[in-house]
Every structure is written in structure tokens, then in C-alpha cells.
Amino acid sequence: MRRRGTWLLLLPTWLVLGMFFLVPLVLTLVLSLRQRGVYGGVAPIPDLGAYVTSGSFLGNYARSFAGIYAGIGWRSLWMAVLTTALTLAIGYPVAYALALRAPRRWKDLLLGLVVVPFWTSFLIRTYAWMFLLRTEGLVNRLLLGTGAVDRPLEILYTELAVMIGLVYGELPFMILPLYASLEKLDRTLLEAAADLGAGRVSSFWRVTVPLTAPGIAAGIVLVFIPSLGQFVVSDLLGGARSMLLGNLIQNQFAVARNQPFGAALAFELMAAVLLLLLAYAFYMKRKGEEVLL
């Protein structure tokens, strides 16, 4: 009796998971095993047996490991790692100042300012960066005007511009979980560390950082995963020149009309993300912490 009740209560969860996660996942998998038709769509399979035994059904996966596409995979991974490292390096001091140094009456306002950019569409904010970074843009006019440079810097449509856009976009997702865990920090422990003779640097590395590790882990996951699949930033700020995995996938569906290949790439990306999430969950469990996601 109790058992059936539990099942009924779980039903909505299963329905949502099934409809929005499992079904699309299976559809993507099936699509990824087929081949495109001449104009797009999928080509009919004349002989299923031969299709399977010849290994053709893995053709899209094999293609995805070819030099050029594997290269894009590595570059996307590298950009995502770099984005995560930079947001952490910038976000930690900001969150630290917000949680532990800011006067109480300023705190809410400052925290609000971190969130305010979300009120504007990310696309529009990315366009704003284009106006800032372009050859005759605000940044260059400022630099030229003050004599800091004698010819305009070419920032827009470079990897640097993509990096700026990525770090800018993901920063709040790093600051917020860090803030949450720094806010919870038991300050008496810092006093105890000082009493026991730890200097400021030593108590930061040996007390503050380990205690906020769950926030750091959550921030890393929240930043790393979206930056791995980004395509808007590299399209607009990178000038559609340097492709990331997200662009390659989007391109296969929207322009090249090779849906099966796009599905295979998407599936691989999902598998990578899933592995990362499992590692995160495992880490949090071992620390005996609640999994934040």
C-alpha cells in the first residue's frame, strides 16, 4: 500500500523526466545512427541488416573523430577550461568582497548589481560588446584618444573577443554560488585560525578555500557546461570564423542540413557533460555535502 503511494507521488517526476529528457535523448540517438538525404532529412535505409553489419550506423561517430572535428572538440574544451579558470579567478575575489568585506547596507545592492544584467537578453548584451570592441568602437576610440595606442586594436572577430564574451557572460554563474558558500562561512573558525598563529594568507588557503570548496565546485560546473556548448558568442564576437562545438552542431541542423551528424555530435557532447556531472555528484557525496544542482 505504502509502496503504491510512493509510486504515485513519483509519477509527475517520471513523466517530466521521460517527456523532456528520455524521449528526446532516444530520438537523438536514433537520428545519430542514420545518414542524411540529398537535400537533408534522413536517407531511407534499403537493407537494415547490411546497414548494421557494415558498421555504417556508426559512420557519423567515426566522422566526428576525424582530425578537423576532433580539433574543434579540443579547442572547445580548452576554451571552456580557460573560461572557467578566468571566471573563478575574477569571481572569487568579487564574491569574497561581497560576502565578507562589503558593509551590510550595501550588500543587497551590490548583489543586485551582479544579477541586473540578466534583465537584458544575452544576445543584446553580446551585440553591445560588438559595438565596444569594433575597429572604430568605443574601446579603440578611448585608447586612441588618450594616446595609449597609435593604431586601433583589432579585438573584434578574434579568439580574444570570444574569450571576453564568454567570461563576461558566465561570470555571474560563478559569483553567485561562491557568494552563497562564502556567506555561510563560520567566521569564528577564521578567528580560531588567527589565534592558533595562522597568518592571513595561510588561513585563507587552509580554512576559507577548503570550506568554500562546494561553492567552487558548483561554480565550475555551472560555468564549464554552458561554455562548452556556447555558439552565440563565437558566432557574433568570433565572426563565425573560429568554430566551437556548439557552432558545429548548430550549423549541421540549420545550414548544412546533416541532422544525423549534428545529432551524433550533440550526443557526444551530452555524454561528456554527463560524465562531468557524475564526477561532481561523486565528489559532493564524498564530502558529505548536499548536491547543489
Binding site: 537535400y39 565572426g239 563565425a240 545550414v255
Partner: protein, 352 residues
């Protein structure tokens, strides 16, 4: 007798009847919808507003910047656009994939206003599915103050002197076209060996290209982000006209693309009546002229010509002289080769 007591229920009934009657009359008046899928910068806002005001139809406009996107969107089966505006070669593909409707000529007015030069083309014989909307060329727009001599060849897009100052259309067929024309070949080359070799040239060119862009090319040229830009004539001509002689547009001597964009009714659209109203609307010479005046692309409506601004009508970049048209070529649907081009273009864009 108190007649009003008797009449009261009657009155109520009458009132109720009126109410029902009103409702029945109002039902078809609920705002009709028209979903338009069209190139960026292709439909002036005031023209669209007039269409809504006159017909009471609510429009929703989505835009794209490549023919390939139209095919992908219509093929997906989830889009329900009532109007789309593909170019020549893509129109042919849409017809062969059964993605567009056959037009009922009896529901159109003003078909005879169209310029016969753009009718009955190979991509849609007898215009059974389409009405030509605007036409133009692809060429090069450039900043005369930043280049040594006037540009007259596609070679400029491959010139190392302009490294980092070149913009290419983010469009497979147009990009392949520049190299094919440079090599004196047809835009519609289908030999895989030739196409592969063209793809290698485009991969090498990537080091010189600042950005690939099909929706904003003229603005980037105006803003000074690039000096030499591959692009379509209308937006280029507009940029040139407002640049006070700083910018120029040329159809290279090797020849370029001539394109004709046509209005079609996708089969997935559900508001066919509203779509026909839209077709009749854009066929009116007055409206056709306002569209040309707004978007600076040449119209296919002959009767509209006298109503078009003189500056636009006489701009050789918009209405090119015959000798320019003579060296231009229409893109054709390449059939099975489409797949190879898609794949090679992916490789080019993916190359680092």
C-alpha cells in the same frame, strides 16, 4: 395587464439573441494571422504596417540570412510559415521536395505587371509556384580610401594585402562562386574534384578573412570593421549612396551571381487566404515601389518603375546595365552535389 411583465422575459430573450448574433458575427473577425519568413532587411516596416492596417491581418515576421536555412526550417516540419522568399536555386529544391504550394493564378491580380525578364525561369517554369519579388547581383563592396586601386576582380578577396580586412558572405554557394568565377568556370560546377580543389582555396583564404557574415555585411563595411566585403548589391548600394563617395560596389570582371528572389507559399502554412492577400498586396505597383525604395533592391515589378525614387532607379549598382548582367549567372540547384557542397562548406568553416 402589466404588459411589461410579459415583455420582460421576451426582452431578455431578445437581448440574449442579440448577444448570440453578435458573437456569431464576430467569430470570423478574430484577428487573422500571417506568418512571414523573409530575408533580413527585405520588408520595410511601414509597408508591413500598411498591410496590417488595410487587411486587419496580424503579421509575424521571422528572418533568415541564407537559403539553406529556409530549406532546413521548412524541412523540419515544425515551422508553419505562410510566406517565404527563397532564391532561384533553392526555390527549385523546395519545389522538388514538395515544400511549396502551386499558386492559383485566378486569385492574383497584377501578375501582368511583372517584368517578363524574370518570369518563366528554369527554376520554376511558367511561375507555377512563385512570384518574383526582387533581384540583384553579388559583388564586392570596398572602401576606396583603404585600397590602392579600384577593385575589379574577385582576386581582391584573396589578396594578402587585405589580410584581416576582408568580409565573406557566410554562404556556401556564393563563396564557392567567387573561386569558380576566378577560375573561369560556371557557378554551377558539379565536378567533385573541382569543388574539392575550390574548397582548399577557400580554406587557405580563411587566414585573410576577418569575418563571415550574410546579414550585416554593408554595416560592417560602413563601420570600418572591414575594407573589402563580398555582398549583395542592394544593401551595398545603400551604404555606397550614403558614404559620400567613400565606398564603392562592383560586379567583378570575371562575372558574378545574378539572383532572383521569389515569394512562395510553403505547404506547411495554414493561412492561405491571408497569404494570397499578401501576394496581391505586394503585386500592387504602388506597394512594390515602396518596397524597392525602402530596401534598395531592384524590384521585379515593371509597373512600379516610374514610382521608384530616381536615385535608386538610376543607380547602376541597383539596376545594373545590360553589359553587367550579361556576365552574370544564375545559381542552379545542383541536385545530388548539394550534399558535397554542404560537407565541404562545413569543413571550410570548421578549419582553424
Amino acid at each position: 395587464m402589466k404588459p411589461w411583465i410579459l415583455s420582460a422575459p421576451l426582452g431578455l430573450l431578445l437581448l440574449a439573441g442579440c448577444g448570440a448574433g453578435e458573437k456569431a458575427a464576430e467569430a470570423p473577425k478574430e484577428p487573422r494571422q500571417l506568418n512571414i519568413y523573409i530575408w533580413t532587411n527585405y520588408l520595410p516596416q511601414d509597408v508591413l504596417a500598411d498591410f496590417e492596417k488595410r487587411t486587419g491581418i496580424k503579421t509575424r515576421v521571422d528572418t533568415y540570412d541564407s537559403n539553406e536555412t529556409i530549406l532546413a526550417k521548412l524541412q523540419s516540419g515544425v515551422a508553419d510559415y505562410d510566406i517565404a522568399v527563397p532564391s532561384d536555386y533553392m526555390l527549385k529544391a523546395l519545389i522538388s521536395e514538395n515544400l511549396v504550394r502551386e499558386l492559383d493564378r485566378s486569385r492574383l491580380q497584377g501578375f501582368e505587371n511583372l517584368d517578363p525578364r524574370f518570369l518563366n525561369q528554369k527554376f520554376d517554369p511558367e511561375n507555377r509556384h512563385s512570384i518574383p519579388y526582387v533581384w540583384g547581383t553579388a559583388g564586392i563592396g570596398y572602401d576606396t580610401t583603404k585600397v590602392a586601386a579600384p577593385i575589379d576582380s574577385w582576386g581582391a578577396l584573396f589578396d594578402p594585402r587585405y589580410k584581416g580586412r576582408i568580409l565573406m558572405l557566410d554562404d556556401a554557394r556564393e563563396a564557392f562562386g567567387t573561386v569558380l568565377k576566378l577560375q573561369g568556370k560556371s557557378l554551377n560546377e558539379t565536378d567533385p574534384a573541382v569543388l574539392r580543389q575550390v574548397a582548399e582555396v577557400l580554406k587557405k583564404q580563411k587566414a585573410l578573412v576577418r569575418t563571415y557574415n550574410s546579414s550585416d555585411f554593408a554595416n560592417l563595411l560602413t563601420a570600418g570593421d572591414v575594407d573589402v566585403a563580398h555582398g549583395w548589391n542592394g544593401e551595398m548600394a545603400e551604404a555606397v549612396a550614403s558614404s559620400k563617395g567613400k565606398l564603392a560596389y562592383v560586379v567583378p570582371k570575371e562575372g558574378g551571381t545574378l539572383w532572383i528572389d521569389s515569394v512562395v507559399l510553403p505547404t506547411s502554412g495554414r493561412n492561405t487566404d491571408a497569404a494570397y492577400e499578401f501576394l496581391r498586396f505586394v503585386l500592387e505597383p504602388e506597394i512594390a515601389a515602396r518596397i524597392v525604395n525602402g530596401i534598395h533592391y531592384a524590384g521585379a515589378n515593371r509597373a512600379a518603375l516610374p514610382k521608384i525614387d530616381e536615385a535608386i532607379r538610376n543607380d547602376p549598382a541597383i539596376y545594373p546595365p545590360q553589359e553587367v548582367l550579361d556576365r552574370c549567372e544564375l545559381l542552379e540547384d545542383l541536385g545530388p552535389t548539394t550534399e558535397l557542397i554542404d560537407e565541404l562548406w562545413t569543413e571550410i568553416k570548421a578549419a582553424s
